[in-house]
């Protein structure tokens, strides 16, 4: 492609990555591939984080709080100087769209791997960006472009556009300061609310109004531009599956876009980028209505979270492209060389609990094993050989086993991406990838993501940005996966096979595989008598239910020892066969916990003798200390983090006990209300001394 004279070309030898987590790891990965040294920055809390170990060098830029570390421009600039980095990659979030930081880098002679200060500023303001877009001939949402200061103006403009309208904060983002109004009354109310919210959230209460698009899809165009004026748009990303304006699933290409629409959107995106003299990677976001009419939303002047789906269908490494552009190199390909290869799908895996209104969860990743391409291929090679042969799995994460997910930073654990020949293949791969993704220790949304992979509207491609709200939230929230009878039998067969293997391993000294193993398995409150017996060949087990069902499992992996994933090819009595990937999470004396289709199930496993005698076992009695927080050790109560009457959530800090000069944080064992404080700071504690009491669960439920 054409090179523009006057553009300085220089090879970058060391990059400081001004970010944390998965995107820092992601940038390190490409930099290493290109032979460029990397510097990671970290806050005091992140000293041992994965992103630090991925880089060649690392440097602390401040305390835990983001505003004092990852957003601390002077410290980061100092870190760049101290480490001699020549360029800085901002990732996404934090300083990625901070024009002041980009300007400071420029002033220091440091290459900011991203667009120019001008482009960041021009696209950073929602109103200004719309004006530029309109000038560039980009199709915009009908509305008033400009600031509205009074209620009367809002009403006038809203009536001109025609309801429904959306009132938005100029500085807005993440759904804050946004209100939909279907009539004058709602417009007045929305004006007041948005203004207050915008003021509180952004310190900027300027508002504007635009047409509200019903059943909208969120589809965006990734582009890459060099410093020589070459701009290429890449296949679109469909990001319509959102929850409260946060993307949950993304895919490329969109199941909805025709080549004509793609071309139209792409060309308009390029026009906009050209208008602001854009270079580096950028994304132009559009809303697309049911008539496939697109409307400009905004332009993101950074690498986006969901960039991997574009990478997989375009075959490009976008971070590499950004670095090349920053080095002053012209793009090595032209628009007509861009093709769409297959289909990519991304799931955002969050530390949140879908069963509790998607509340963020914190804690330690006690067990953490990412799915792999080899593993997923192994599972699918019998049932879907074509999908297995060409399928790819990619997991972009910034964590590893034993990492702590804290409330200080983003609760995203990883992005799980699959790539197949078509949409159905990508979905098949995603199912297995989710099923073999071992995450234990905190609540996560794999159950919900897995449910989405079987959701009829998602499967048909009939999606819009309100899908989760309509299909789940408005129906009382996500209530969990309910396995069918056949699925329950699959799980029972797996549980039986695992028990057989454990019995086999325990008697290994005699080298005789156990003959038929009769078991009574309990699942979801009902008992099932099954017999597990060795099948025709060594790794085949037949599981027969007393009520007539059968499963034959060709086991490839037992889920014991180094791997927690049980893999088998299951033949059912109805002639159907499928790959079963079930995680063995925990094994007790009389039961085991499995994760099946993203959801944990406890399966009781008793011998017939045990099952017969189980009737005499007393019901477990809740200890009288169940409603109390007791000191686990002798020591001194240093502090209490709660007061009488406080509502606490599971995992919340309640008290700190110092014993042997060590500070031990005691956390809430469950959601509860503190009913009484038995000790105060400074008190000496013996083991099992009651520190505070919770309301009895019934009372708490009644008051809720």
């Amino acid at each position: 492609m054409a090179a523009r004279p006057g553009v300085v070309r220089r090879a970058i030898k060391k990059i400081l990555i001004a970010n944390r987590g998965e995107i820092s790891c992601r940038v390190s990965h490409t930099a290493r591939k290109l032979g460029i040294k990397t510097v990671a920055i970290f806050s005091e809390a992140d000293r041992h984080a994965k992103h630090v170990s991925m880089a060649d060098e690392s440097i602390c830029v401040g305390p835990t709080l983001s505003s004092k570390s990852y957003l601390n421009v002077p410290n980061i600039l100092q870190a760049i100087r101290d480490t001699g980095a020549e360029a800085v990659h901002p990732g996404y979030g934090f300083l990625s769209e901070n024009s002041k930081f980009a300007a400071a880098c420029e002033a220091d002679g440091i290459e900011f791997i991203g667009p120019s200060v001008h482009a960041i500023e021009a696209m950073g303001d929602k109103i200004q960006s719309k004006l530029i877009a309109r000038d560039a001939g980009v199709h915009c949402i009908p509305g008033f472009i400009g600031i509205l200061d009074t209620q009367d103006e809002i009403l006038r403009v809203a009536n001109e556009i025609g309801y429904p309208v959306m009132i938005k904060a100029s500085a807005g983002g993440g759904g804050k300061g946004m209100r939909i109004a279907y009539n004058d009354k709602e417009a007045v109310e929305g004006y007041r609310m948005s203004r207050e919210e915008a003021k509180a959230s952004f310190g900027d209460d300027r508002l504007f109004v635009e047409k509200f698009i019903e059943e909208p899809r969120h589809i965006e165009i990734q582009l890459i531009a060099d410093k020589h004026g070459n701009i290429v748009y890449l296949p679109e990303r469909e990001c319509s599956i959102q929850r409260r304006n946060q993307k949950v699933l993304e895919e490329a290409p969109s199941p909805f876009i025709t080549p004509e629409v793609r071309k139209r959107m792409g060309e308009q995106a390029v026009a906009l980028a050209a208008k602001v003299g854009y270079h580096s990677a950028g994304t132009v976001e559009f809303l697309v209505d049911k008539h496939r009419q697109h409307y400009f939303l905004e332009m993101n002047t950074r690498l986006q979270v969901e960039h991997p789906v574009t990478e997989l269908v375009s075959g490009l490494d976008l971070v590499e492209q950004m670095i090349r552009v920053a080095e002053g190199q012209p793009l090595a390909f032209t628009q007509d060389q861009v093709t769409i290869r297959g289909w990519a799908l991304e799931s955002r895996v969050y530390a949140e609990d879908p069963l509790r209104g998607f509340l963020p969860s914190t804690g330690r990743l006690e067990k953490y094993v990412e799915p792999t391409t080899e593993g997923v291929r192994l599972s699918l090679e019998e049932t879907e050989p074509a999908v297995a042969a060409s399928g790819l799995v990619r997991c972009d994460s910034g964590v590893r086993e034993w990492a702590d997910i804290t409330m200080h930073y983003d609760p995203m654990i990883s992005k799980l991406i699959t790539h197949g020949a078509d949409r159905a293949a990508a979905i098949s791969l995603m199912r297995v990838a989710l099923d073999t993704y071992v995450i234990d220790g905190l609540a996560h949304n794999v159950n919900f993501l897995r449910e989405m992979m079987d959701h009829p509207r998602f499967l048909s491609g009939a999606i819009d940005t309100k899908l989760i709200e309509h299909e789940f939230i408005s129906k009382g929230g996500y209530t969990g996966y309910k396995p069918s009878d056949s699925q329950q039998r699959d799980l029972l067969a797996v549980a039986g096979a695992v028990q057989w293997k454990l019995a086999d391993l325990a008697t290994a000294a005699h080298d005789a595989a156990p003959a038929a193993l009769p078991l009574v398995l309990t699942l979801l409150g009902s008992s099932h008598r099954v017999t597990v017996s060795p099948g025709a060949s060594p790794a085949v087990l037949d599981v027969a239910g007393a009520d007539g069902w059968r499963r034959s499992l060709a086991v490839r992996q037992w889920g014991l020892g180094s791997s927690s994933v049980f893999r088998a090819l299951a033949h059912a009595d109805d002639g159907s066969r499928r790959a079963l990937d079930v995680q063995v999470i925990d094994r007790g004396l009389l039961s085991a916990v499995f994760q099946y289709n993203g959801t944990k199930f406890t399966v009781g496993a008793l011998s017939p003798e045990q099952a017969h005698l189980a009737q005499y076992m007393p019901e477990p009695v809740e200890s009288s200390l169940a409603n109390c927080l007791v000191s686990p050790m002798p020591g001194v109560l240093l502090s209490l983090a709660v007061a009488k009457g406080d509502k606490v959530v599971m995992g919340q800090e309640l008290a700190v006990v110092e014993a042997m000069k060590m500070q031990n944080i005691l956390r809430a064992p469950c959601d509860a209300v503190v009913s009484d404080l038995a000790k105060s700071p400074g008190d000496t504690l013996a083991v099992d001394d009651i520190i505070l009491e919770f309301e009895a669960p019934e009372a708490a439920a009644a008051s809720a």
């Binding site: 391993l505 008697t507 005699h510 409150g525 180094s562 017969h612 014993a659 060590m662 500070q663």
Partner: protein, 612 residues
């Protein structure tokens, strides 16, 4: 008070809960079984009448009991109750038809008598007492055996042995089996010997013959070399026999002692265990209890009240909670009998048959080199005063994360337990920085010492993980003999000749450093993580002494720089090497493989004089 008296009182106390159950039963059988209540309330006067009740009667009562339980319990149990009914129906079908009355010959009479006695032995104390036992969440002696052993493997000894006493009307209360079921069977295909006391027969009381039965299987276990498991559920000595029953205990104790270190001996307390009866479990290697249905004490609450004026319940005095958390008498508590029997099976899977056998080697699915251990490299916090969970480290190093802890609730500042490395049993001893900073105190020293000695007896290699700031200071500790008790662990490690692998993860200070399987105590492979601090004492304390009157902070920093690391220990060879934490599993596996050929003998002696 004379011992005999004490025991008698203890036995009386032990009977206390039975009254509760009797009341329960009265309510329970208010419907169709009104006749049962007075019989039960007549305490042990049930005699042969009910025990010999025809099988169908017993069956019906079992079914009634089962369905009542199920109705009261969760609906999910309904299917289990109906299963019980099926099983009982089977029994009914199997009722034997006896030879015709008219052709009675002496042979036939004997055969019939044998059949009757066997039926009596199988029926234990009879349906009503069995129902009482079940109502308390307890199983019968035979049911427990069926849970403990591989299905169908039990072979009984002395099934119809009966007592010879005649005083106090005992000649009218003779039961085939005499209150204890004994024999042998298999656990995961390996032989074990079992004694299971039957509370439904004369309260499981120990008579001369009852003791003889136990002694017989103990002798056989010793002869062939196989573990012995005693399931205790007994009201105590059979006082009607006087000194004869007392002598029975003594015979058992003597055998417990001689078997110690030869075969693994495990006691499970599944009901009352009071007075002299407690000493057999105390002499065995491990004592387990069942929560809420078992208790052990030398003297019961009534004697305690009379002698010391203390008002205490049986549960508080000697329940599972007390003994597993406070006294350390109990090595593990289970929620119910089902779990208890499954737990004992699991424990046995780690143990050798005897000191003449090697511990079983199981096929392991966990490779020596595993991918997910990088997290160990950053597990030890930078701040030396910040705790972390040593158990989580242990679980990552061992096979499959399966650690069977011994005394998990007692002296939690030290972890002891069995695990496997590449399928071979190891004994794990590890300081737990989460509790009391992992220091050694009286309780943790004694807990670990006994565990180390068990492993040494049975050739189980020891893997020790050290993060220990020293022995716990204070008058409580010193007055109670920390010196004496701390010496037990030192003695145990120094005496042990099994393979010993030690990894210092963080603090190893002072005498505690030496004690925790150090190089100086014949440690075979001693390693330190980079985070290790090995020194004679903590920097602050050392600075107090070194820098009297001078700049203490400066001295502290100097001392820290010089000694709060593993370098000096490595330079002297006190550790064999510095170990990257993520390599720990692999290195320990390699060492254990190497050390299989270890040969080390202590000087010949009668026995050492361990500080007790």
């Amino acid at each position: 008070m004379a011992p005999a008296n004490t025991w008698k009182l203890a036995t009386t106390c032990a009977m206390q809960p039975i009254r509760l159950v009797q009341q329960l039963l009265v309510r329970h059988s208010a419907g169709s079984h009104t006749a049962a209540a007075p019989r039960v309330l007549a305490r042990f006067g049930i005699g042969a009448a009910l025990a010999a009740a025809p099988a169908p009667v017993a069956a019906r009562q079992l079914v009634t009991c089962a369905s009542t339980n199920a109705a009261r319990g969760a609906t999910s149990r309904r299917s289990l109750a109906s299963m019980a009914a099926e099983v009982v129906d089977d029994d009914e079908d199997e009722t034997h038809t006896l030879p015709a009355q008219q052709q009675l010959t002496p042979k036939l009479i004997a055969r019939r008598r044998v059949h009757e006695l066997e039926q009596q032995a199988l029926n234990g104390g009879g349906a009503e007492r069995i129902a009482t036992q079940h109502a308390r969440g307890k199983l019968t002696a035979r049911e427990r055996i069926s849970l403990l052993l591989d299905s169908g493997s039990f072979r009984e000894t002395d099934m119809i042995k009966a007592h010879r006493g005649s005083d106090f009307g005992m000649d009218k209360k003779r039961f085939a089996g005499d209150g204890v079921v004994t024999g042998q069977g298999k656990v995961f295909g390996r032989t074990v010997f079992v004694c299971s006391q039957d509370f439904t027969v004369l309260g499981g009381s120990l008579s001369e013959t009852h003791a003889e039965k136990i002694c017989k299987v103990m002798d056989r276990a010793m002869l062939v070399g196989a573990p012995l498991i005693c399931l205790n559920d007994s009201g105590g000595a059979r006082i009607q026999e006087g000194i004869a029953s007392l002598a029975g205990y003594a015979e058992v104790f003597q055998r417990n002692v001689l078997a110690s270190g030869v075969i693994p001996q495990i006691s499970v307390i599944m009901g009352p265990c009071a007075g002299g009866a407690v000493y057999s479990p105390a002499l065995t290697d491990f004592t387990f209890m069942v929560r809420d249905s078992s208790y052990m004490f030398v003297t019961g609450p009534e004697v305690v009240r009379a002698v010391t004026n203390e008002d205490v319940t049986a549960e508080a005095l000697g329940g599972a909670q007390t003994h597993s958390r406070v006294s350390g008498v109990c090595h593990g508590a289970f929620d119910n009998e089902l779990e208890a029997m499954a737990g004992i099976r699991r424990l046995l899977s780690f143990l050798p048959q005897s000191n003449r056998h090697k511990a079983p080697v199981l096929r392991s699915l966990d490779p020596r080199e595993r991918a997910n251990l990088d997290c160990l490299d950053s597990v030890v916090p930078d701040d030396p005063n910040q705790p972390y969970d040593m158990r989580a480290i242990v679980e990552r190093i061992i096979d499959d994360g399966e650690l069977v802890e011994i005394q998990p609730e007692y002296a939690r500042n030290i972890i002891t337990g069995f695990a496997r490395m590449e399928g071979r049993t190891v004994g794990i001893v590890a300081n737990q920085p989460r509790e009391l900073a992992g220091c050694l105190d009286i309780d943790s020293s004694v807990k670990a010492a006994r565990f180390v000695r068990f492993c040494d007896c049975f050739e189980i290699p020891l893997v020790t993980l050290v993060d220990m700031p020293g022995f716990l200071p204070g008058t409580v500790q010193e007055y109670n003999g920390l010196i004496r008790h701390g010496a037990k662990l030192l003695f145990a490690y120094a005496e042990a000749t099994v393979p010993k692998v030690t990894v210092i993860t963080r603090k190893a200070y002072g005498g505690g450093y030496i004690t925790m399987s150090s190089k100086h105590l014949r440690g075979d492979a001693n390693y330190a993580w980079p985070s290790a601090e090995i020194a004679v004492m903590g920097a602050k304390g050392a600075a107090e002494i070194i820098a009297r009157g001078k700049d203490k902070d400066q001295a502290t920093r100097e001392y820290e720089t010089k000694f709060a690391n593993p370098i000096m220990a490595a330079e002297r060879g006190f550790v064999d090497g510095l170990l990257r934490p993520s390599d720990t599993r692999r290195v320990i596996c390699e060492d254990l493989e190497l050390l299989q050929g270890k040969q080390l003998k202590n000087p010949a002696k009668k026995h050492a004089n361990m500080p007790l």
